[in-house]
């Protein structure tokens, strides 16, 4: 089976690429920005274009050994140093080591009197001088729109900008030029017309009080790029773009199995448990034991020496630790051994994309083999009317490509037939375990059954789930779960009592 990672197409006419070092962006672009060319990054104020440009320079200087020059038309030295420091980079230090040079070009707000012909050789000279001084390979012009307020003759300015872009390409410098978004055009002054090779547009919108950021590759000559918008996040590490996942469904189906953490449940699945790299959904009404099932699964992974990432959206990690202790599960020792990592967030703290970006980032940092998301219920509702399925599909796909076995818990509501969990979710899942309460003959009882599990002959029995301080156990076989949806108190149910 071919590898699932999208490899950049290497053809005779494809451009060489310069990696940006920005999480997710290099994946989306198949390697980075076009090398030795000018890329335009446009967007409204505050959308992150200056940050993207500066990160490009920072990573270039620190990670890729490519010094960079920034011609800054907008910010002062103090502001830029502070912004960059918030990302963990020291501008002054990098300048001293000649890895970075920033030239603050101040543009008069009122246009300077023009007394005859002129050109922008002064700008050229400053740029060339800076590039030569540190032997720069990367250049940022941020933001070129500011020039339009200082220079009255826009015809001269445009022709000079074209000259600057050509100069940058002649010098084989990889450059980012930032431009402010226009109302009907990509940039206010139509700079996109002068940029032939790559244009990236950033967007920042607030929907239902949740702000989401999107990145779109408007143009990338020589590379087949998706025309979708990719959600991204800005946090203390900078920009993270949610990476593309293979849309070709070519991820390998692994044949390894991993234990569910509950021996009796393993037995119901050919005695072996889940397929490694598969996606598991655990649904049930409130209090049926979903988190306990998830916790057992996490524990089993840690006991094998594997790293487990547990994302919790409802309970705090300490609540979970306490609750699990009451059912005989000591998770704390795995936390101490740094095999179990909790990440807790309120579902409404950011949009669905924001959560996914955090999940992606943590997964890249911690490289778990098992991930639990408990629950996904509120994530689905927090995203409002957005297309949940495509976001979840991205996540599940990403996890499969990483060969991570994932477990998702979801709350269903009493009265709804069990199988009516969000349809968007269940089709993405390889295994679906249902927990439910029942009261045959008045005695409350929890049940568990495996509704589906692709690729294996799983038990179709419904068994009683017994939760005690000794842990989770599966009790007697109750019946074939196909009858679980029938009305309570039928003779079939009574017969097994």
């Amino acid at each position: 089976m071919s590898s699932a990672k999208a490899k950049p197409k290497v053809g005779r006419t494809s451009l060489a690429k310069t990696p940006t070092g920005i999480q997710g962006l290099d994946e989306i672009t198949g390697g980075g920005l076009p090398k030795g060319r000018v890329t335009l990054v446009c967007g409204k104020a505050g959308c992150g274009k200056s940050l993207l440009a500066m990160e490009f320079l920072m990573h270039g200087a620190v990670q890729y050994g490519e010094p960079g020059v920034c011609m800054d038309f907008e910010e002062t030295e103090e502001k830029l140093t502070a912004n960059v420091a918030s990302l963990g980079f020291d501008l002054r230090e990098l300048s001293k080591r000649k890895k970075l040079l920033v030239d603050y070009v101040s543009i008069e707000r009122n246009q300077i009197a023009e007394t005859g012909e002129y050109n922008l050789d002064g700008l050229f000279i400053r740029l060339a001088h800076a590039v030569k001084a540190i032997k720069a390979k990367r250049v940022v012009l941020d933001s070129v729109e500011a020039l339009f307020s200082g220079i009255a003759d826009s015809a001269i300015l445009r022709s000079e900008l074209r000259r600057v872009f050509r100069w940058l390409e002649d010098q084989k410098l990889t450059a980012i030029v930032t431009g402010e978004a226009g109302t009907h055009t990509l940039t206010r002054h139509g700079l996109e017309e002068y940029i032939a090779d790559c244009v990236i547009s950033l967007d920042h919108r607030v929907t239902e009080q949740i702000s989401t950021r999107r990145l779109r590759i408007v143009k990338y000559r020589g590379t087949s790029h998706g025309t979708d918008e990719y959600p991204f996040l800005i946090d203390e590490d900078g920009i993270s773009v949610l990476p593309i996942t293979s849309l070709l469904l070519t991820h390998e189906a692994l044949t390894d199995r991993v234990s569910t953490g509950i021996p009796a449940l393993d037995e119901m699945m050919e005695g072996k448990g889940f397929f490694r790299g598969s996606s598991v959904l655990v649904t049930g009404t409130a209090g049926t034991g979903k988190s306990s099932v998830a916790a057992n699964f996490a524990r089993a992974a840690c006991a094998r020496g594997e790293v487990c990432l547990y994302f919790t959206f409802e309970e705090s990690p300490s609540q979970i630790l306490r609750n699990m202790r009451s059912v005989g599960l000591d998770l704390e020792r795995w936390v101490n051994k740094r095999l179990l990592h909790f990440n807790a967030m309120r579902p409404t703290s950011t949009g669905l994309e924001g959560h996914l970006a955090v999940i992606h980032r943590l997964i890249s940092q911690l490289r778990p083999s098992v991930v639990v998301i408990d629950p996904i219920t509120n994530l689905i509702s927090a995203s409002g009317s957005y297309d949940v399925k495509s976001m979840l599909m991205r996540l599940v796909d990403f996890l499969k490509v990483q060969q991570i076995t994932s477990m998702f818990t979801n709350l269903t509501f009493a009265g709804d037939p069990q199988e009516r969990t969000a349809a968007a979710v269940s089709s993405l899942m390889d295994t679906w375990i249902v927990l439910r309460d029942s009261k045959p003959n008045g005695r409350p009882r929890r049940e568990l059954y495996v509704l589906k599990s692709r690729g294996m002959s799983h038990s179709r029995e419904a068994r009683e789930l017994i939760v005690s301080e000794k842990g989770l156990e599966l009790g007697t076989v109750l019946r074939d779960h196909a009858q679980a949806t029938t009305v309570e108190g039928t003779s079939a149910v009574a017969a097994t009592e």
């Binding site: 030239d103 070009v105 101040s106 543009i107 008069e108 300077i112 009197a113 023009e114 007394t115 005859g116 012909e117 002129y118 050109n119 922008l120 050789d121 002064g122 700008l123 050229f124 000279i125 400053r126 060339a128 001088h129 020039l147 200082g150 220079i151």
Partner: protein, 107 residues
């Protein structure tokens, strides 16, 4: 190459009608040559010798562009008397030069 830093030494004076003007050029381009010629003419006519012109060629001294924040060439900066004023272009429009630099000597 023709030496392009030409300083006319004038006795230092603190009188407010003595102008120190700095013209930034980038090589001997037609615009730059025109600017130098036009500037000399205007100064002779309007400032009656009470001026000093410094010509800075950024091709030779690129590091000097930063100080006065030069992006356009030619740029003429009035350094003294204060306030500092800046205009761009080859100075062919005499009226704009006079107004832009406020070249009326103090009476």
């Amino acid at each position: 190459m023709k030496k392009s830093s030409a300083k006319k030494r004038q006795p230092k004076t603190s009188r407010s009608d003595f102008f120190i003007l700095r013209l930034y050029i980038a090589g001997q381009t037609p615009n730059s040559i025109a600017a130098i010629t036009n500037l000399k003419k205007i100064c002779e006519e309007k400032l009656h010798g009470k001026y000093c012109i410094e010509v800075v060629d950024l091709l030779e001294k690129p590091q000097l562009a930063k100080g006065d924040q030069i992006i356009a060439i030619p740029t003429l900066v009035r350094r003294l008397p204060p306030p500092v004023k800046k205009i761009i272009g080859n100075l062919s429009r005499t009226e704009s030069v006079i107004v832009g630099l406020d070249l009326q000597p103090a009476r």
